[in-house]
Amino acid sequence: MKKISYIIIFSIYFSCLFGQETILPALPQSEKIALVNGTIHVGNGSVIENGSVVFEKGKIIAVGLNVPTNGMKTIDCKGKHIYPGLILPASKLGLIEVNSIRATIDAEEIGDFNPSMRSIVAYNTDSKVINTLRPNGILLANVVPDGGTISGTSSVVQLDAWNWEDAAYKSDVAMVLRMPSLLNSGVRVGQRGQRNDEDRLAMGLKKVEDIKAFFREAKAYLASEKPSQTNLKFESLRNLFDGKQKLFVHCSIVKEMLVAIELSKEFGFEITLVGAEDSWQIADVLKTHNISVILNSMHSLPTMIDDDVDQPYKTPAMLQKAGVLFAINDNDEHNRYRNLPFNAGTACAFGLAKEEALQAITLNTAKILGISDITGSVEIGKHANLVVSSGDLLDMRTNDVQAAFIQGRQVDLANKQTHLNEKYKTKYGIK
């Protein structure tokens, strides 16, 4: 505890002296570290009381009760909670700095079919937003491009890096497809205006045919031994067709989800539905076909005016019950993604067990992103991506992150906001 306090005090001192730009990425883990006597939330549903976690060279080497910790740097976690680092499953972190300023946006490319776009090359490790996520327990993020129909590939980054190459945790994990809207149009002659009456469903289905045609051509191209001309768009789909990459389909309603499943069967893609607000309506179908889901911000109004007023809050519990693999996201552009643990907490208030909720922002996410072999839970062999909180991480009332480790490196929890906080506390003489 003392050591942690030292670190905090030091970093505050350091940052007040030098300002926000001096929050340095941590050096590689140089010595064995043991977090002892904590409540370990493994991330796979199990909890170890009074347990210890030992990690060396960035990897967890021991977890459990009565783990020997002699000669190691030990951090006492008595009364505290140890969690796997939280993972943002789909965000525009590092691609958008200030939403309203076009110059700071690198998320949407011009054009409709952009499979060769790679979010990782635009990921800005100096975004002021990144450092504000760590004190809430978020240590990894999948950075997803936006725009068009096929937006490009997303990559997983770790949130303590000098540049995007350092940050790349797993590159190009998924190709991102945005399903055209298949919401039936209709005119509502209502209180305040009308929507036009074009047949948007037909337009959407036409667009789906365009997508399939594109994939069919790509498939044919990739089947040829030596294409006479290189097509970068098609080349960039090779991993997807080879099964080395997933297809993330951003969609919302049942028709869109069913069309996505049908499309995945035709081309043999492994898909994850992103957004999927109405996934609860076809949870058993998703289970049967092993379709995973990333639920976008649950802090949203229900899709339909007639829906249960808390439908978005309880969708996770419904998916859990059906056995669907799902992750919870925070794509809110106002609080800038930092409420991920509280989204999981909300799901908990509406039917999900606490450890299940945790799993939905750790191990489930890792599975969906294809990184569960190296992270997502507090288990031997995995990266030491760990968070220590004095209280329940999923409740803002108790969420109080005191230390965080990415691949064993203890990261600075200071950020622009803590600096400004310190600056003005000093001005007003607030303790």
Partner: protein, 1024 residues
Amino acid sequence: MKRSFYRIIFCYLFIFGYQSFTFSQETFPVNDVANPRQECYAFINAKIVSDSKTTIDSATLVIRKGVITTMGKNATIPKDAVLVDCKGKYIYPSFIDLYTDYGISTKSINSENSGNFNRTTQIESNTKGAYGWNEAIKSQQQAHTMYSKNESKAKTMRSLGFGATLSHLKDGIARGTGVFVSLADNADNYSILKDKASAHYSFSKGSSSQSYPSSIMGVISLLRQTYYDAKWYESKPKEEGINLSLESWLANQSLPQIFEANDKWNVLRADRIGDEFGKQYIIKGSGNEYQRVKEIKATNAALIIPLNYADAMETDDVNDLRFVGLDDLKHWELGPANPGVLEKEGIVFSLTTSDLKSESDFLGNVKKAIEFGLSEAKALDALTIVPAAMIGMDSKLGSLSTGKIANFLITSGPIFAEKTVIHQNWVQGQMFEVKKDGWEDIKGNYSMMISNQGLTDSFKVVVNENGNAQFIQKDTLSGKYSFDGSLIKMSYPVGKGEKSKDVTLSGVVMDKLLLGKGMDVDGKEFTWTGQFLSPIEMKSDSLKAPKDLELGAVTFPFLSYGWVEKPKQSDFIIKNATVWTSEKEGVLQNTDVLVSNGKIKSIGKGLNSPQATVIDGTGKHLSAGIIDEHSHIVASSINEGGQSITSEVRIADVLFPDDMNIYRQLSGGVTTSHILHGSANTIGGQTQLIKMRWGASDEELKFAGADPFIKFALGENVKRSSRATGNNRFPDTRMGVDQVMMDAFTRASDYQKMLKEAEENNKKKGSTPMVVRRDLELDALVEIMNKKRFITCHSYVQSEINAAMKVAEKFGFVINTFTHILEGYKVADIMKAHGANASTFSDWWNYKMEVVDAIAYNAAIMDKVGLNVAINSDDAEMARRLNQEAAKSIKYGGLTEVEALDMVTINPAKMLHIDNQVGSIKVGKDADLVLWSDNPLSIYAKPEKTIVDGIVYFDRVEDAKMRVANKAEKNRLIQKMASLKKSGKGGDIKNMTRARPRFEFVNSCGDHEHNHGLLEIDSDELAE
């Protein structure tokens, strides 16, 4: 013989009638031999329904030169009258439609021109000439100067039974005068029955491209201001010069005033405008008035009601039905009952063809309304005497009596009976045939004689209704006939199936005798006669008896989760709860709270009251209801961005209680909400504090007796920094924002001085009276300076916060609240010295430039500096988690749980000046309470009951039941629609549409994006 005579008259009318009714006008040249006429007709043997109460059997109606001269049982028939035998027929007054633009070219009207938040601003009117400042006030329009008959349109209207209509140019907020015209095919000089018959108003600015008003609250303010301006203009102020708009506005005041509301809430809104200026509008509704009929009744307004029922929807795709709204389904079912409900409530109304997709649906829809409970008498009234009386034309039209204009219908039976047809529609004494077929009753048993080159054959023929005839030979052959009033065609098949061939006959009908030529199946021609033997038995035709319709209930509000019966106040004790008082007592364990008559009566242990029900609070937490200082729900418009200063507009004018977000936020513990104008301009509109009384009317939502507030805004939004196309509306910098306020309050000070001078001057005897123009915009600012109205000011960065306080101090008042105030932590000490409150977000930042320095520690720092701090939502979704937003100050800044909860209870109550009434659990305060499942600062806490005024408006157990009931009701309606299609019921399935998604309008301040779900339509997209 009589009949054939009649036919000859008819032929005559057809050939010459057209000209004969074009009266020779004195001033017009004659291009013919002068042909003066008396146009005298006597309609004999008719059943005359002169009005809904009076029917005269076997009566005579005499008209001359377009006017009824005699009517009655034994009326003398003038010798020069042309006789029309109406045996078996009914005569009714022709219908009157008060809501058309018949005969008026609408070419000049562009489509709706209202812009959005980011539109280029047009400050001034584009209308050339000595007119008023606002293009949408078109009081100078005069329909009678634009009118010219439109025969094809008139023909359609006449075929529906209409003989006259009130027509106006449907363009603008003030639309000038309407013209009352007949639908005769006369020279325009004659068809105008009254040139200036009415004055018209609406909530739509129509073709005006001027930026102001951009919202319905702006429209209301503009109308109010125009009333004041017109009054002032009467004093001939030299500052104004000639203002033709105000002159015509004044001239139009004596006419019947008709307001197009087009929605139930708009009916109430329009009526309130009228009340302020002593005007009782006739209000054009929309067909959803049944949803708030009590409130509408209370307006005392007469209504003009359309019959545009919602179309049925396809029910074959469950994935599409998912997005169909229960309210839309219910309105589909209940819409036809609207006129009947109005009748039952004693509301005076007329019916109009307005808003119908196809006018040909009109009569069918009237009959449907009757099937759904409207009496036939009221239906007739609503089409005749009532509209005539509404515009003071009932001495001329609307019923049949001597001296009235000869506008009447001749029908085959009772006007609204299922099979009745309108044969003729006489307009201004001019005959228009609507349906000739069936005028002459040729139904009956005939003896048919066929003669073919000396060979004769005879058999019986039964001429039935609906064009069916039986030819009884060896077999009875089913054939067809058609009769157009003079010529008859008949045919019947011989042989079976595909091989059958037709015998055809063609001829004329003379009294009791059919006669003509035919051709048999072998192509041989023959002649034939049919002698009438006897009439056939007919089933009596009447309107379908109103059957048990099995209609769903009207709920309050008209949405899912609405009440069938509004919940009532009752006494109760919450026992043994953890009570978060938000008072100095802090948190009380194992405590009871007794609520009586909507107030907190006592707090303590072991409380008892015989009449109080007991609610077990064991293991639960009770807090005061959450108060949201900054919200944009429950309003039909939020931003009036047409100008930089719009202090005249009022959210109070546009409250919209049919907002699901009331219920959703009750489920999150909100009991009081401050509905603010958006941030489109520096000095925005007047705000409205409401209580979350789910199911209440707009007036009942208001928090009675609270101090009035107004919204101001600073920074990027008001200088419109996010616009891609640049900004042409002053101001464009924070320097300009400062000057907008300086200028506004300088003008307000001068205005106040002038008012005072005028008052003193006018007290003196013999002085020339001073008239000061009442300025609604400056009135609100004067109230601020006199501490009668208080500011809540949207603000972000420290420079603008500081500057706004300096302006206020210069004019001697305090900025009551800075809202958003994300850099408040930088100037908290200055704010404290000034005396401002702070209402902020917990953790929003970096979504625009002015919030890059926003920090989650803001609330805690401001609190520790000693400011009164609240956490607000500004977001329909976040409002239901305000307790959690407050709890973030525990994490960011280390506030205690009690301090955190205060930021959404007593602190906002203080800054809204309502802490004597709400905001804490204290004896004597309103029983606005939330019973939580857990510590209210925890993410795991859910409100189990949310109570306003001692009424449980949200109860998680009841909510679960309502969800089930909603689903059942939705399913019932879908099945009803589906069975309708199966039964192929013509009228209903003709207009069947695809399943219509139920989009939801959600207001926002225009400041930032919101997560509001798939079917949300940001109202800024539409009308702001």
